[in-house]
Amino acid sequence: MSQVEAAAPKFKLTLSRDVTDVAYRLLAVALICVTLSLVSDAFLTANNLLNVLRQASLVFFMASGLTLVILTGKIDLSIGATVGLSACVAATIIKSTGSPWLGAAAAIGIGGIVGLGNGLMVTKLRIPSFIATYGMLWVAQGATYYYMSGQSVYGFPPGFRALGSGYLLGIPIPIYLMIAFLVIGYFFTKRTTYGQQIYAIGANTVAARLSGIPVNSRLNLVFVLSGAMAGLASLIYLARLNSAEGDIGETLTLPTIAAVVIGGTSLFGGVGSLFGTFIGGLILTLILNGMNLLNLNANWQPLVTGLIVLLAVWLDMKTRSKTDSN
């Protein structure tokens, strides 16, 4: 059978799954944009579109690190709590020293340390990532509460606040950062051997290990990156809110996972892309933006998010099983 196939090759455009998955999603983005511009005059304005992108950038920073973790077939549930801890520590440091740089280093450093803790629990103690990072969620959140002891910190130097709400050439600064990290992330996942190994681990961890990939050290790496990206996200969050309280990151984890999943990254690992995650975050933000513009009750938002997640996963399963069977 295979002999015959080889003798008469089918001249058929075989696009990699990444490309087709992203193409479907771009189509969805276009569809949503057209619909929203038809039903609301306020949608297609520069101001609103930039606002959407700025919102999407916050989701992207958290979701990009998480995407790496999910590509290996693991999960990080401590993202939101890490954002909270990093934001609060950074806030007090910036307040007391006046140096945004020290605060930034602390936020990213703390995120990285939390991530390393997650990684070591998974690789050394062999705790399933779901449980390890779920435990870490409570530990990081508890540490944040203890650290803040009910206080809130607010009022940061304008130079720091520009990170969240400033403009450069009329475009919000977080959008530049997002584009930069999208490019770096693309290079890391698609153009380095580390990225290739991350995909290989997610596709079959046992085979990856038996093919000489240092699986444990790569897993530690993705957890550290996930934590560090959460630390970075916390800075932008902090700069935008201009205040920090103990519960700052509590509600962020689940929407972040939603963005990754809507973006087409498989929770089983090995399939997906950072660009997909960017679009996933964009779709989520666009829908919420549309609901705001149409004055729909905000209480509907979780329900709509859930439905989009289910729809995205269902469509992926359908399209993928079709490409596999030919």
Binding site: E5, K190, T193, G195, A200, A203, A207, L210, G212
Partner: protein
């Protein structure tokens, strides 16, 4: 010869198989197998790996439905189409892997799924379950505590729970698959005592064993299978262990081209000294030189795969040393890969390939550090390397970008080999390289192996197919219960000698 009745004066066998056939694509697993099972007999079933014992067992318990042939239960023609049918006719199979629930008690396990209803609808009569379990265990003279959770019991006791479970379903025919393989001597004695009591009570036991001593100690009759066919049913006092082995091996069609005898063995590629580990291997010594194909054989479960994994650094070891090309090795699979060692694992799909990834991705995955020392990955270069390997190994795939899961077994195996060729491996450990591969592809895989050693590579090959070991290997080590039972030079390398070393002669 009239069938000898060993248990009373039953007029008809408990179960009689007539002309049972079972075919899988490409394999005749059972070919016209007939024999009766009489009440109160212990019927030994012997044969090499792949002779059809497992298939026969599955036909008896209803997991497989025979394509052809008839079954007679107490002289009446019956059909066993499901495990429920098998249970109805009193057939119970005790597999090597137990089907007990670890955290339930002994009594709960015995009546799992058949709990007695309590007075209130929807409730369970726990007291009755306990008393019935006690009764069944008493019947076989066991003193296991009925309330003990099963995971706290040893293997021998778990086996007794399995037997009690079978008997509680009124089993009259007990099929046991190598029941003593994990038991100590005293536990084995205990089990044998229990089997004799069951036999006296008229239960028939079909017993699969690789241990010669057991076969002759317990067996009332011995049926030998080979290549899915029944070779003979013999009485223990009419045969000898040597005769049995002869019947099990028989003469086989030689389908494999044997390698020429002019082997130029070079430097020592692999030197294993006194390797022991928690996976059950102990004091392993072996050497493989460049230019050699060395076999590692023995029965399934004798520790062959465990040796391969320990050598490759995939499993922990507790003692001994491994040397690759003259240098001590004590790392993991990543270090082994860097040293030019390749493991082609026994399960291609679970351990050898990332099935959802492309052929090309799989080919370069072990060579990423070698091909891209700066860690910057070039898709174009990776594609060229993969394309060259596809051509070199004649891997039949429409494109390097096609997912490897759509390829045939033989082509998938070539992808695994290609992965290691790309990584510049010089020592290859093949674990069952031809499993699930059709005859044509087998020949190609062997041709590849010959090519490798002629170009200076070293090969350690594990196989359950004795004819492959005999024809392909230059010499072989035979394993038995975690140790190397012996080494066979090319002159002494034949199926009889392998079986003699690999079987258990207490």
């Amino acid at each position: 010869m009239a069938p000898r009745q060993t248990g009373g004066d039953a007029a008809a066998p408990l179960l009689e198989l007539r002309g049972i056939c079972k075919t899988f694509p490409g394999v005749r697993a059972l070919d016209n197998v007939s024999f009766p099972i009489w009440p109160g007999e212990i019927h030994m079933l012997c044969g090499e790996n792949g002779a059809g014992k497992s298939s026969l067992m599955k036909v008896l318990c209803g997991a497989y439905v025979a394509d052809e042939g008839e079954l007679f239960h107490n002289g009446e023609k019956v059909e066993i189409k499901s495990t429920l049918d098998a249970r109805k006719f009193g057939i119970a199979v005790i597999f090597q892997e137990f089907s007990l629930v670890p955290y339930l008690s002994v009594a709960q396990n015995i009546y799992l799924g058949r709990e007695f209803a309590g007075k209130v609808p929807g409730t369970i009569d726990r007291q009755k379950i306990r008393s019935e379990a006690q009764r069944v265990l008493g019947m076989i003279g066991s003193d296991i505590a009925i309330d003990a959770p099963v995971h706290t019991l040893g293997v021998a006791q778990q086996q007794i729970v399995e037997i009690a479970k079978a008997l509680s379903q009124n089993a009259r025919i007990l099929v046991m698959d190598e029941p003593t393989s994990a038991l100590s001597d005293t536990e084995t004695e205990h089990l044998f005592g229990m089997m004799r009591r069951l036999k006296a009570a008229g239960v028939a036991i079909v017993y699969i064993s690789h241990r010669m001593a057991e076969v002759f100690l317990l067996g009332d009759r011995i049926t030998i299978l080979r290549d899915g066919k029944k070779v003979a049913t013999v009485l223990p006092d009419e045969t000898s262990p040597g005769d049995l082995v002869q019947k099990m091996v028989g003469r086989k069609v030689d389908a494999i081209h044997r390698r020429g005898a002019n082997i130029k063995a070079g430097e020592v590629a692999l030197d294993v000294k006194g390797l022991s580990g928690p996976s059950g291997i102990s004091d392993i010594h072996l050497k493989v030189r460049a230019g050699e194909i060395v076999g590692l054989c023995g029965l399934v479960g004798s520790g062959r795969t465990e040796v391969a994994r320990a050598v490759f650094g995939a499993d922990r070891v507790s003692a001994g040393e491994v040397t690759f090309f003259g240098k001590r090795f004590s790392g993991g699979p990543d270090e082994a890969t860097r040293r030019g060692v390749a493991l082609i694992p026994e399960s291609r799909k679970a351990q050898g390939l990332a099935l959802i990834r492309s052929v090309g991705d799989n080919i370069v995955v072990a060579a990423l550090d070698r091909l891209f020392p700066s860690h910057v990955f070039h898709r174009g270069k990776a594609g060229k390397v993969a394309q060259a390997m596809i051509k070199k190994l004649r891997i039949s795939t429409p494109s390097a970008r096609r997912a490897v899961q759509v390829l045939s077994g033989g082509n998938q195996q070539k992808v695994v080999i290609g992965k290691w060729l790309t990584a510049d491996a010089r020592l290859f450990i093949f674990d069952e390289p031809t499993r699930g591969i059709d005859v044509g592809a087998k020949a190609e895989i062997f041709a590849l192996m010959y090519d490798l050693v002629e170009n200076g590579a070293a090969i350690l090959m594990i196989s359950s197919e004795l004819s492959e070991i005999v024809n392909v290997c230059d010499r072989a080590y035979v394993m038995r219960e975690g140790i190397i039972a012996g080494e066979l030079s090319r002159e002494r390398l034949n199926e009889e000698n392998i079986l003699q070393l690999g079987m258990h002669h207490e």
